[in-house]
Symmetry: C2
Subunit: 757 residues, 2 copies
């Protein structure tokens, strides 16, 4: 009906004749008799839902996003700043005006800020880094110097170190293998790494593991600077003095306040001593601009780096060590700050104890127009529009909860502490959590629990792309086709189903999905904006309206997508899940992992033969240091049978369930209630109490941030990382653990089947 | 025997005990009774040949290369310069001393040199290009300003043009498709292109075809400057003011003097008027440094280029047009210059009318240490060593001819004119032509007629790599294995056979192979040197010994490889050909071309469907200009049956021949002579009198330089380029023409078979 309406609108524009109203009425009649379906709704409730959704869409006003962004970004609003509190109160008040039960829930967290920052190079050409982002006349808020956090990495260690410098590319484990083959040791040295290629916190973590005593991270113009487009303010890309702030807490171990793992950081919570907190970075780390990096990089001697290590600076990149020593001195104020989460509820009329949650953070590193305000204001508009429906008589069957998190930037402090504080209630009540965290012009992106993938596909058919007037799903398909190579196009042609990604970490879904097993999704738009403002003083209203989403059209579209998801999750008779999607996805992951193992076996066998024949020595340039790869033991065969057996069971059970799913909305209210509880709790079966190796806080056995990638997801992480790190025993152990979670999951599907018989 | 000797040397070094001499004698005895084979030699003549080859190897002295390079590079020695003549006489005199019949053969060719060179940018920041390579104190000959040719492109048109500037990436046809999709037209504009990605002459040719009125070519540091390594003189790479000179004659049409196509440019040859010469560039073209290019590139407005177009300069690359106008003024002295080819003969003792030719040019753009002197001195040492053998009683059965060409740089002037002047004799007598044109540290590279591929593989087993003490073949294999990906390694593992490339154009083999059908090869070493000196005043002795081949070890190895090839070709009872290799290669090319056609069909079909569904419009960023690809007609099916049928015949005939090849050296002298004539003339069967489309001078139907790639080869060019340019009629016509040449070739193989029965 909705799609039909849009088509009719186009017709009306073209002809604008009265008789078309008659045609429209006729179509509406036809649509009503050939009712469009919504997953989990009876036909009659679907018709009502469509009508509300139509009104919901009509309510969304881009101008509101603009107005709220102006306010929310008017001053820097990082954790503990006056404006973070002001913003939280502003948001809470609006929610209350719109009819929500809105509260501010506070937690008290460790949040270090810089006291001393010094970076200098000794020698013939001494240099002291500026460590300053200058104000631009073209950008009004960039001059709010007194309120801005200086450029730094939160949770860096205090330190005062002097040493030679080594360039480590992205600073991931593979880079250290390259260094090792060249006989370069970072022990006792300071490393300099490029941003990108991994989450930033991985860089100092891996550097410290290799014995480095300090870490500098810089933004190479190849990644978000002039190589990609004109620099701010001519274009949107990072200018020469622009710096990416950011947290380097060891997030793959646990998120949230480092001093209160597993429990809410309430005022009187029991806290660890700082020395015992395992997620604090062990060495000093400082982010710098490429202008500050240039003299350091120019001071590097040693051999020239391989092509894949190069950036876009006008220099020859060398490994180092530097000819002169680098001095890095950092001291922090290790303060406790009060957080202000805004939690706004609209109680469910029929199922108040089933919670549908949406969230976006409100804190920023500086003014944070794109990150996070662009999607924060979308969520606000979504909530306002739903409030308007309520005024017209709409009642969500389930409870809707909109969260505006504080302290996301330092590492999901607000969301994690709230989750830990409300753990038991969430376990019982949370149906799903939908996250956003910024919005730009372009294409719909989504990742999350695959049980929601078909549901999400249904939703994105209903939302029109603001630039092309086709559905955002159609536009996404067009982009995928155009970007694909020959094989990809042949495979994709005609198949508009959008496969969603898997979630690692990096925004507030992590505690809900990976610690508690709440089915979650993260959605955004992007791909056509022009940005290098990330975590700098230039992520501002002025930058946003010029380069990111002029007119807030995609913010409005995001409000529609997430609003529709929230409304359908809230009102469906039967929750819109699809177990076939889960089976297909996990089955693909298992196939991937088996290929990973097989390829690893082939590679090791080949390398071993090549080493026996001394091919690496023969091929190498004798004037350069470049040893053969480290000899590795042969790759054993692992026993995947438990996984393979349970996957067959899951397949059968899922197919059975989905065959009956269409009829489930006709079950009795009692059975529906029992069934829904099973459906939303099914994701919890993927948790294993033991958690992942070296990080028991992460319980989910299908999705996790990589121990050595950070934001980047590792699917079936226990097995995959065991194989990647050649810990065969652990990999085999986690095959069994994952099989057990799949068994538990299948049991839930079978329980659902029993109810639908 | 040779390999054995090397292994024994290693043993001797390790133990140095007298009894090892006994062991060695024993091995030599065993080796003699289990005689090593050489293609085309009886066992007894192979044993003699090995003995001479051993003496030949012992003669090669790297110090000679050093001495001669010092002399030959002591002054600039381009066409028509005093030192070009001095060098030719120096070389001729040495050849005479070594016992050769050496003569200087002169031709008189058009060779333009600059009279006026002006490049400037108007507007607020006016700029005039320096167009100068400064002398460096670290490089002695770089200061010979008065003798140096200025930086220019030979055979550019005279012109005085003022227009906006457009950046065209590499300036190949695909780049203009990208421009067209963005609505950018170069008509009436000046274009600026990066060096690389095609032979330089293609850039102004394609620019002119699209209506551009001028062309600037610059060396981006991504290609041979600081991105790859330190700039000269710290490293070997192109410094900021370094410029690549070079010819832009339309070489894919014909090579040699533009005024005497098809005939030798003797003093009294009939010459075209300059206006009627088809290989002169139609617009003015100027090569510049990146330092001179920077202000021009900075002046470009318009959209940002795609990633694949970017270079390594610290700017955002834009398409243009430029905000201000560019003024390019070029005038040339269109003089006729005398060329000095040195032709040195060692008449064959038994078959003086069968000529084995080797060649390297002696002219350079400036001092030319790497290009061409590094391989010129290798050929000289090779000739000197053979002269020493002659003093000891060695007599080549066939005539050896060593050519030192003048005028290669402007476009194979010396070799082409000599070939055209001696066409009939070469048709009758030329057995093979082996070319070199520079030598650096690293790995053996080879391309050429595939009938010589197995022969070449036999030779490279005999030459030891100077850095690793394994054979150059083993080292090449090691490099290929190390560089390969998983699939490549699996395929290559254990297979050391070195597949040679195919020859396009770019050095003096072209007239022999592609106009006359003389089986040819081009060989070199490289891959480990550190060079951005190409065609600049920095290609000097000082640069060479520091960054290219210190100690001349690879020059010496090149002398060994080519010497062995010449000696075996000269002395074999039966010429070392392999028709199976020809069959396999042509068969692979046909398979490639069928895949090309099929992929083109799939691509057009897919694109057409995508255009019908408007996917390109939907996927594109509405804020940018980027139209869909041009609609193209469906790809027809072509009839390959004539080719497929004749390939079966060639396969059978070749297999039969190679089965009997081992016994052929025992044929009677008369039959051997008849057979050898067939064998070396077989390559002529690949010629078609009609030549290639739009360039009848190119007769070879298997190998040619691409009409739009230049140096880059196109195999089965008539068919391949027909398909690439969507000229289906022409492609089908050339399938039949190629089939006819293959039929003629097969006839020769069958004639050879008849003789060996």
């Amino acid at each position: 009906m909705l799609l039909l309406q849009f088509k009719s609108k186009v017709l009306l524009k073209k002809h604008n004749m009265k008789w078309l109203n008659f045609v429209l009425m006729f179509f509406l009649f036809v649509a009503a008799t050939h009712a469009q379906k919504i997953m989990g709704f009876t036909d009659s409730s679907a018709a009502k839902q469509f009508a509300w959704e139509k009104q919901f869409f009509a309510q969304i006003k881009a101008a509101n996003l603009d107005e709220w962004m102006k306010f929310l970004t008017s001053h820097p609003h990082h954790v503990g700043s006056p404006h973070a509190k002001i913003n939280a109160e502003y948001i809470a008040n609006l929610y209350k005006q719109w009819g929500y039960q809105a509260e501010i829930e506070s937690y008290y967290v460790l949040f270090p800020t810089p006291k001393t920052r010094l970076l200098e190079l000794s020698g013939k050409k001494p240099f002291r880094a500026k460590l300053e982002e200058p104000a631009l006349t073209a950008d009004k808020t960039s001059a709010q110097k007194a309120e801005q956090l200086p450029t730094y990495n939160a949770f860096s260690a205090d330190g005062d170190v002097t040493a030679e410098l080594i360039f480590v590319n992205r600073g991931v484990p593979a880079d250290y293998e390259e260094l090792q083959r060249r006989g370069i040791d970072v022990k006792g040295k300071i490393v300099i790494a490029k941003y990108g290629g991994s989450w930033r916190g991985i860089k100092p973590k891996v550097a410290a593991e290799h014995g480095a005593i300090g870490c500098i991270i810089y933004s190479d113009p190849a990644d978000d600077g002039y190589a990609l487009g004109d620099s701010y303010p001519e274009g949107g890309y990072r200018p020469k003095d622009g710096v990416q702030r950011g947290s380097v807490m060891d997030m793959p171990v646990y998120t949230g306040d480092p001093l209160t793992p597993g429990v809410g950081a309430t005022k009187d919570a029991k806290r660890l001593d700082r020395e015992n907190a395992t997620t604090l970075m062990k060495i000093p780390v400082l982010p710098i601009s490429y202008e500050d990096a240039l003299p350091l990089l120019r001071s590097l001697g040693g051999e020239v780096v391989p092509a894949s290590w190069r950036g876009a600076l006008p220099i020859t990149y060398h490994f180092g060590p530097s000819r002169d020593k680098v001095h890095l001195k950092l001291e922090f104020n290790w303060d406790t700050k009060q957080l202000y989460n805004v939690i706004a509820k609209l109680p469910g009329s029929e199922l108040p104890d089933e919670w549908v949650l949406g969230g976006n953070h409100h804190d920023a590193w500086v003014n944070g127009a794109e990150d996070p305000v662009s999607a924060m204001v979308a969520q606000m508009e979504e909530a306002r529009a739903i409030g308007e429906l309520v005024k017209k008589g709409f009642r969500p069957r389930r409870t809707l909860i909109f969260c505006a998190w504080d302290g996301e930037e330092p590492m999901l402090l607000g969301s994690t502490e709230w989750m830990e504080d409300h753990k038991e209630e969430l376990r019982q009540k949370a149906v799903a959590y939908i996250n956003t965290d910024g919005c730009a012009r372009g294409f719909i992106n989504a990742a999350g629990s695959h049980v929601l993938e078909p549901f999400f596909n249904e939703v994105i058919e209903q939302v029109t792309d603001p630039q092309t007037n086709v559905s955002i799903k159609d536009r996404k398909y067009a982009k995928a086709m155009v970007d694909a190579d020959r094989a990809g196009r042949t495979k994709l042609m005609g198949n508009k189903y959008m496969k969603i990604g898997a979630l690692g970490a990096g925004s507030d879904y992590t505690p809900f999905l990976q610690h508690l097993g709440i089915a979650s999704m993260d959605i955004s738009f992007g791909g056509e904006s022009n940005g290098g403002q990330y975590h700098s003083i230039y992520d501002t209203y002025d930058h946003f309206v010029k380069f990111i989403d002029s007119g807030f059209q995609y913010g409005a579209a995001l409000a529609k997508v997430k609003g529709l998801m929230m409304l359908r999750l809230a009102n469906a008779e039967i929750l819109p899940v699809d177990f076939n999607s889960v089976y297909r996805t996990v089955n693909d992951y298992v196939a991937e992992i088996k290929t990973l193992l097989e390829n690893s076996r082939i590679d090791i066998e080949t390398e071993s033969k090549m080493m026996n024949e001394k091919l690496f020595e023969l091929a190498k340039d004798p004037k350069k240091k470049y040893g053969p790869p480290t000899a590795k033991d042969a790759v054993p065969f692992l026993d995947f049978s438990s996984l393979e057996n349970v996957l067959v069971q899951l397949k059968n059970a899922s197919e059975e369930f989905q065959k009956r799913y269409g009829k489930a909305p006709q079950l009795s209210a009692d059975k529906q209630s029992q069934l829904n509880t099973i459906l939303y709790k099914a994701e919890r079966s993927f948790l294993s109490e033991k958690g992942l190796p070296r990080r028991s806080w992460y319980k989910h056995q299908v999705y996790a941030p990589g121990y050595y990638t950070g934001y980047g997801v590792k699917t079936l992480p226990g097995i995959r990382e065991g194989i990647e790190e050649r810990n065969w025993k652990e990999a085999q152990e986690y095959i069994e653990i994952v099989a057990k979670t799949l068994e538990a999951y299948t049991k839930q599907v079978n329980a659902a089947n029993a109810l639908t018989k």
